[in-house]
Point group: C2
Chain length 95, copies 2
């Protein structure tokens, strides 16, 4: 069957992870800019963080560099979104 | 170094994926219920979809069942969120 050379496979994983991780920066930026987070599901980001933590563990155990690097970065961005969600939700509740 | 048996490793990947995939169902449910998507970043979901498609390809080339199954399911849920974003955004623009 068709096999990519391992450097090409690693490159594919790195590009895939760059996109999925970077995407959360767009949500974080929007929430930061608008200071409005009402439509963003907090539950989604809590469950997603738990999942990303397990993906990171999975990547470490499989020695999969792409999984390790991108899940670590995603975890940081997702924690930032959760922090913004919590902060701006409190503010609008106080109004 | 510490190695998990491969069935335990597969189970870990399946639980990780169940959490990260299922989390998007929570966002889809919230958007469907509230019919409000203003705070949800459309750019995030466009970039994220492209990334998930590449992760799926990566999983297929690495014969990694957990990556294949969960990225396929995530893609469906993320497409649903994008559809809701597009639909409800149009509606509020028309008001």
């Amino acid at each position: 069957m068709f096999m990519l050379p391992s450097t090409a496979l690693t490159a594919l994983g790195l590009i895939a992870g760059a996109l999925t991780s970077f995407s959360f920066a767009l949500q974080a930026w929007r929430s930061w800019r608008t200071k409005s987070v009402k439509d963003v599901s907090g539950g989604m980001y809590v469950v997603f963080s738990a999942g990303v933590l397990l993906w990171l563990t999975y990547g470490l155990l499989r020695h999969d560099v792409a999984l390790i690097v991108w899940n670590a970065l995603t975890l940081v961005l997702v924690a930032l979104i959760l922090m913004l969600k919590f902060r701006y939700q409190q503010r609008s509740a106080a109004k």
